[in-house]
């Protein structure tokens, strides 16, 4: 099946720092989404981005489908950005399921 690899697995930042999270996938995909799971377990959709670039405030994401990767940029990080960031993809010709990576655990210290 499709492999979704996220890096780094863990990231510790000081408040105000910038970071880049990466998602590599092994096959062509219809759909790619980024999620943030906060320390209380709530999973929030950040971006629906099968290709191209999108920005939302301090966050932006870029997907290069032909090269099978996506990047999530966090600028001027805040303590509320802490949590786990998941990339999830849907395989072309797949059964409409999203396959999640193992996530990047981000800790932002004050």
């Amino acid at each position: 099946g499709i492999q979704v690899e996220q890096s780094p697995p863990d990231l510790i930042l000081q408040e105000g720092a910038n970071s880049t999270l990466r998602c590599n996938f092994s096959d062509s995909v219809n759909n790619l989404q980024w999620f943030h799971q906060n320390p209380w377990g709530q999973l929030i959709n950040l971006f629906y981005i099968p290709s191209g670039t999108k920005q939302n405030g301090r966050l932006s994401a870029t997907t290069v489908a032909t090269e099978r990767y996506s990047l999530l940029y966090i600028s001027s990080s805040q303590t509320t950005d802490s949590g786990v960031y998941f990339c999830a993809v849907e395989l072309v010709g797949g059964s409409e399921k999203l396959v999640f990576g193992k996530g990047t655990k981000l800790t932002v210290n004050p």
Binding site: N31, Q33, G41, Q42, L43, N45, S95, E96, K97
Partner: protein
């Protein structure tokens, strides 16, 4: 507008029992999906329903079943519970089929099997 709502929030069951988890999608959303998340891992797909029909099924045993009602709400049923079924069960809704629209998750039901 209310987001995706799930009930109950927490549940403790004994091995061999049956459980029913409930989900109400965002108003106007016609697709509901169920995911299982065990500690330290990403969510794993169980089912997707669109317009009341099953559109996708993950690699879960037949003890897991689901359905979607005419008002687009959904139930996930698990029979003959095992200790390994302990997890966070997440429901997600989207306005269309998953490849066309972003997924929005509820807060989940934390199931503990003892």
């Amino acid at each position: 507008d209310a987001g995706v709502t799930q009930s109950p929030t927490h549940l403790i069951k004994t091995r061999g029992q049956h459980v029913t988890l409930r989900c109400s999608p965002i108003s106007g959303h016609k697709s509901v999906s169920w995911y299982q998340q065990v500690l330290g891992q990403g969510p794993q797909f169980i089912f997707q329903y669109y317009e009341k029909e099953e559109r996708g099924r993950g690699n879960f045993p037949d003890r897991f079943s689901a359905r979607q009602f005419p008002n687009y709400s959904s139930e996930l049923n698990v029979n003959a519970l095992l200790l390994g079924d302990s997890a966070l069960y997440l429901c997600a809704s989207s306005w269309g089929r998953s490849r066309n629209s972003p997924l929005h998750f509820g807060n989940g039901t934390r199931l503990t099997v003892t």
